[in-house]
């Protein structure tokens, strides 16, 4: 399973929508590294300049609402951000994040217990969120068993490959 992730928190409010995660004008970009340069640009134009690889986005409710653009989680991942912790995620973003392999953690307590700049350690396998600065620890909501099996398989693509192989 995925290794432990570690980085500093960058905290934002609720309803961080896909238009601010990656503005529409960049949606014709396919190159991941280029997308990564614009992550969160509509909300916090300094984010990519300030963050260090491994850092973690922490947000309130309904993270990723709005459009279905898969380039939203792709841009976040490509920026070097290691994960997003939020009180809740919008539906399409949630699926997209799992499909492209951006680790997400849903925990209201963890979000309330984290301030910008705190050092965070994450264990994707157990859904563990540790705030190293404050010495606290939280457990994120578990994924439903089917989704966990998708994650364990390495995402949707290997799942489709298995289904295709079975039908041969």
């Amino acid at each position: 399973m995925e290794a432990t992730l570690r980085g500093h928190a960058h905290k934002y409010g609720k309803n961080v929508d896909t238009d601010v995660i990656i503005p529409g004008k960049y949606c014709n970009i396919i190159d991941r590294a280029e997308l990564g340069k614009h992550a969160l640009e509509g909300l916090d134009p300094e984010y990519t300049g300030r963050m260090k690889p491994g850092d973690i986005i922490v947000a309130d409710t309904n993270f990723g609402c709005g459009s279905s653009r898969e380039v939203a989680p792709i841009a976040i991942k490509a920026s070097g951000t290691s994960a997003v912790i939020a009180k809740s995620f919008a539906r399409i973003f949630y699926r997209n994040a799992l499909n492209i392999g951006l680790p997400i953690f849903e925990s209201a307590e963890a979000v309330d217990g984290i301030e910008s700049g705190d050092e965070i350690e994450l264990e994707p396998a157990g859904g563990i969120v540790r705030n190293l600065t404050k010495g606290t620890s939280y457990r994120a909501a578990e994924f439903p068993p089917f989704m966990q099996s998708l994650i364990d398989a390495g995402g949707l693509v290997p799942y489709v490959e298995r289904r295709l192989a079975e039908s041969q």
């Binding site: 949606c27 396919i30 509509g42 489709v160 295709l164």
Partner: protein, 427 residues
């Protein structure tokens, strides 16, 4: 225990007797949609799937170039070309290039590609629009779409349903857009997350097909997975005019379970406006006009309000008048068919004579792509569905969402204006 309309459709497509909220199912899809942006990513994903040479059924895939068309730049042209080549290689039957289609959600119903009881997934969040026809339709990202291209199936979590029951007759200059803005205002932008919205009541029974399209379209603005109406005689007549394909009209059971039932009386409803920067920041027009808000741009179009009925309303208000000085009014008819109908009816000339810039069909200014991007400090009123920061261009611009009538009235004055006083607006 009975099932909701959404549960009925999902159960049939998963070949199950019944389903319940929270259950994860594998469902067969009747149509998979993508535009040049979501298709480009999906095609890349599909090429990386071992053993996936072909799409599951070339007659059940629709590809529409609409977001950056006619191509904004070389990069956008490249995406459209990638999709076009994929369509040819896979023999995709329903491929709509510039000049032959328009906005995906306007085009698919027009072409008879949406019918009651069907299950449709699309690489665009406003795929929920097809709920207007009694179909289950939901938006997904490109990896999910790539999987659907290949398998013809998707995994879905059955959503709980929220029943909205509308009553009352809309007053003058109150439209489906106003009703839906009010609804999003009441539910909130995450009020229906992971849920299905089922629209009921005498008000929506009376609505035109385009009115229902406007309402189903904005279900996602409340976070919903899908928004759905029951198909009635109007729906069936519309669909049968466009396709011979057989379809199954489903109905919710009398004892279906709803997570919430909300009654909304619209008899006293004024025209509504969503103020910056979220679609649920909705206020009655009389509160908004108190601030005398000058606008720099009016945009008429999109999959919410880019239909012939919408253009007729706008043309009626602008007929024989001039738009305010120092104002840009941009109109994007939703599809080539809408454009031609508007041309036949003299609407395009009426709008151009009033001073509007009439564009070729496509998404245009709606998502800040091109053809009407807002600059720093500008304010716009728009018939579209989202007003998030930066949605139409500059993150320092303000976007107000309203009906075509409210936008047309505002075009005459250059200020956000109540369409009910439009007669009093000086020429």
């Amino acid at each position: 225990m009975g099932m909701t309309l959404t549960e009925k459709i999902l159960a049939r497509h998963a070949a199950l007797e019944s389903v319940e909220p929270g259950q994860i199912i594998n469902a067969k899809v009747d149509l998979v949609l993508a535009n040049e942006l979501s298709a480009a990513v999906a095609i890349g994903v599909m090429r990386g799937i071992k053993g996936a040479g072909k799409v599951f059924d070339p007659s059940k895939i629709a590809l529409v170039a609409d977001h950056f068309v006619p191509a904004k730049d070389a990069q956008s042209a490249g995406l459209a070309r990638l999709m076009k080549e994929f369509a040819a290689e896979q023999k995709v039957e329903h491929f709509f290039d510039v000049g032959r289609g328009g906005i995906e959600h306007v085009v698919l119903p027009e072409e008879g590609l949406v019918a009651p009881g069907e299950l449709i997934v699309g690489g665009d969040s406003h795929t929920c629009t097809y709920g207007a026809f009694g179909a289950f339709a939901t938006g997904m990202g490109s990896t999910d779409i790539a999987a659907a291209f290949v398998l013809g199936e998707v995994w879905l979590k059955v959503p709980a349903s929220i029943k909205l029951v509308y009553s009352g007759k809309p007053g003058p200059f109150v439209y489906a857009k106003d009703i839906m803005l009010r609804t999003v205002g009441e539910l909130g932008i995450d009020g229906a997350t992971y849920r299905a919205i089922e629209y009921h009541g005498s008000t929506v029974d009376e609505l035109s097909i385009t009115g229902r399209i406007t309402m189903a379209n904005m279900a996602i603005e409340a976070g919903a997975k899908n928004g759905i109406f029951h198909a009635d005689a109007k729906t069936i007549a519309y669909v049968k005019e466009r396709t011979d394909r057989p379809f199954v009209v489903e109905r919710a059971d009398a004892d279906a379970r709803y997570e919430r039932v909300i009654s909304i009386d619209i008899s006293e409803l004024e025209p509504q406006v969503a103020c910056p920067h979220t679609p649920d920041n909705v206020h009655p027009i009389s509160d908004v006009t108190r601030d005398d808000l000058k606008v720099d741009q009016v945009f008429i179009g999109s999959c919410t309000n880019g239909y012939i009925d919408d253009l007729r309303v706008v043309a009626k208000i602008l007929d024989g008048k001039r738009i305010a000085p120092n104002l840009r009014v941009i109109v994007n008819p939703g599809s080539q068919k809408v454009w031609m109908q508007a041309a036949d009816e003299g609407i395009l000339t009426t709008l151009a004579a009033a001073g509007c810039a009439v564009n070729t069909p496509g998404c245009g200014a709606c998502f800040g792509g091109h053809m009407g991007t807002l600059g720093d400090g500008e304010r716009a009123i728009s018939t579209t569905n989202r007003n998030y920061v930066g949605r139409m261009g500059s993150p320092k611009a303000e976007i107000y969402l309203a009906s075509p009538a409210t936008c047309a009235a505002s075009a005459l004055t250059g200020r956000i204006t109540d369409p009910r006083v439009v007669e009093a607006v000086p020429v």
